[in-house]
């Protein structure tokens, strides 16, 4: 902190250009992007076939639902809430599409109904969290079971297959002809990413999102309609999860009750790996997108290196645990260093010890 006197009456201004650059270069977004680059480079040299276009294609298709859902989930977590029901909503969305198409409805209409179901389900989460005032963790554990239960009850243990080819092409085809790397469907992600990055990083709504995460009550007093924003974010998360469900049906050509079981874990892991604080108020979309790609690259590289899929799950878990404890570790090391310099013994956990000055 600088030692210059600060006039309290002056309005807060943007930080000096130097600070801004430092933030950009040494922030968590930059760290996670650098980590992604390192993993990618190592994989390119060490893992055979990692540089083939098909690898990138399957990598992107494999993590596509996570990419989509991570966008609204990032904003939900920044407000200090969480949504664990997304995986079940992907399942419910795909089952709704499957059941309606089987019942003779055209695919487009069925998809629209599924999107509406997603928005309503998400709004139910949002209503219980904001209007009833319940913790989102408990609510969405409940709806995780509820949505999955509905999905499983609608189709039982049947599965629906045989969707129209022109729709399937939408999810399965490649943008520049066969053998190239980019899936065509990536445009959907690009559009949504532009919308969400703009919303979070360049609009008052985005600033309000951070303000709520920092201090919900203070945000309310400064005139932010916290409830409405959270409700909207939960509804958006539900709708986009259902969208991912529709994609799921088309890409894998099957609608089943247990589609995308456990996907919520991957999404939450990606968002946290991407540098968003679980306590809210911190993080950004560039880091999260890099985090999703990091997990995708890691999985893809391990798979190509013939590591079993279970070990890949272990790697995802380790990555999640390590990224969340690193900030605490850095903080602790900083305390130890300061204590060594000052010659004071560190007693972590003692009352009054400054270990909570920054909750990460």
């Amino acid at each position: 902190m600088s030692s210059t006197l600060i006039d309290e009456r002056t309005a807060p201004t943007a930080p000096a250009t130097g600070t801004r650059w430092r933030r950009l270069l040494f922030g968590r977004d930059a760290a996670i992007i650098a980590l992604l680059a390192v993993v990618w480079l190592v994989a390119l040299f060490a893992v055979p076939h990692f540089n083939s276009p098909s690898t990138l294609y399957y990598l992107l298709e494999d993590i596509f639902p996570v990419l989509l859902i991570a966008l609204p989930m990032t904003m939900v977590v920044i407000t200090g809430e969480i949504d664990l029901s997304v995986g079940s909503m992907v399942g419910l969305g795909s089952v709704v599409v499957g059941a309606l198409v089987q019942g003779g409805m055209p695919f487009g209409t069925a998809a629209a109904v599924a999107l509406a179901v997603g928005a309503v389900g998400g709004a139910l989460n949002g209503y219980l969290v904001t209007k009833v005032g319940l913790p989102s963790l408990a609510v969405t554990i409940g709806t995780l079971a509820l949505f999955r239960g509905l999905a499983v009850s609608i189709l039982g243990n049947r599965s629906v297959t045989g969707f129209p080819q022109e729709w399937k092409d939408l999810a399965q085809s490649r943008m520049f002809g066969s053998g190239t790397a980019l899936p065509s469907i990536i445009w959907l992600f690009v559009i949504l990413a532009v919308v969400f990055v703009t919303l979070l990083h360049f609009t008052p709504t985005g600033r309000a999102t951070y303000a709520i995460g920092m201090n919900d009550e203070a945000a309310r007093f400064s005139g932010i309609n916290s409830d409405r924003l959270k409700l909207g974010l939960f509804a958006a998360t539900g709708a986009i999860s259902a969208l991912a469900g529709i994609w799921f049906v088309l890409y894998y050509n099957t609608a089943r009750g247990d589609n995308a079981t456990g996907l919520e874990l991957s999404v939450v892991a990606a968002v946290l790996v991407g540098g968003v604080s679980i306590f809210g108020g911190k993080g950004g979309l560039p880091g999260v997108i890099a985090g999703v790609l990091l997990i995708g690259a890691l999985r893809s590289a391990l798979r190509l290196a013939d590591v079993s899929s279970d070990a890949i799950n272990v790697a995802t878990g380790v990555l999640l645990v390590v990224t969340v404890i690193v900030p605490s570790l850095v903080l602790w090391l900083g305390r130890v260093r300061k204590a060594l310099i000052l010659g004071v013994r560190v007693r972590s956990g003692a009352p009054g010890a400054p270990h909570r000055e920054e909750e990460l």
Binding site: L128, P135, L146, V152, A269, V324
Partner: protein, 348 residues
Amino acid sequence: MSAVTAPERTFRRRVADLIKRRETSVVVAIVLVVALATSVNSSFAFGRDGWRNLLLTPSLLVVLAVAQAVVIISKNIDLSVSAVLGLTAYATGEMFTAWPSLPIPVVVVVAIAFGSGLGAVNGLLVSRARVPSLVITLGTLYIFRGLGIAWVGSAHIKPSDVPDSFERIGIASVLGVPVLTMVAIVVVIVAAFVLGSTRPGRELYAIGSNEEAADLYGLRVQRRVFFSFVASGTLAGLAGVMYAARYVMVDSQAGSGLELQSVAGAVVGGVAITGGSGTVIGAALGAVLLTTISRALPIVGVPDFWQQALVGALIIAAIVLDRVLANRHARRLVQEREPNVEPAEVAR
């Protein structure tokens, strides 16, 4: 501030309190479900098998719900219990195959200690790194389950792998009560005593109500939280041994999904997810209610598939009810203190 005199504990007041308790309503719900299912098919509760299953089936989830209650009361959560159960269940069978001469009690103790060790990993990460337990145990759920699959692969424990005497524990009854049910009851009694009447237990409630205040008061928050996770790992390990004895067939997916059911059981039984309130007995009764409902559904003609949706609806109903009751209680307390304030101003 004047001292508030405690209301007189008259008999009527005690009865009224008892009726208002969450545990009472859960018991009523269990009785209703059992009565309904029995009226459709009398073998649900009567007959040798019906009676045994009625008592035996919930015992596993009861132990897990108690484990979950211990951590939820201190405002944490342990999502890795199901993976710990899977690992210890497989370890139990594996020890019998690897060292057939090992006496059963040794195997049981080692398997439970294995669970404690896994719980200690959670506890260390949560209490030291000061990261929410939701995130840590989500990670360790992945890690433990992944390690389990890597270790077990497509192999599984078969009934021929375990000694007959161990297999019999899973089905044996003493005086009409299955042994595993007795184990669960002992766990509930011990945990209820520790949480209700000992210092470490009461401190967990204090930590769950307000961690910062507990810290300022001088409670050793980190240590208590650490040991609450060791306890939940230990109980999950015990549940793993029970799983091995009850089902004998153990594969790499043993117990998957039970983490949510254990949370559901505790929450339905009145353990608030926001920490600091609820009882172990409530959590155990919640678990009994959930298992009994899912066993009763097919009998009253509802397909199995609806069970999960019902569990979800029950969780939501339970937390909404908790919130409504807490609000009403808070409003009444404020009104007792300041009778002139309009109730509307008290809300929120």
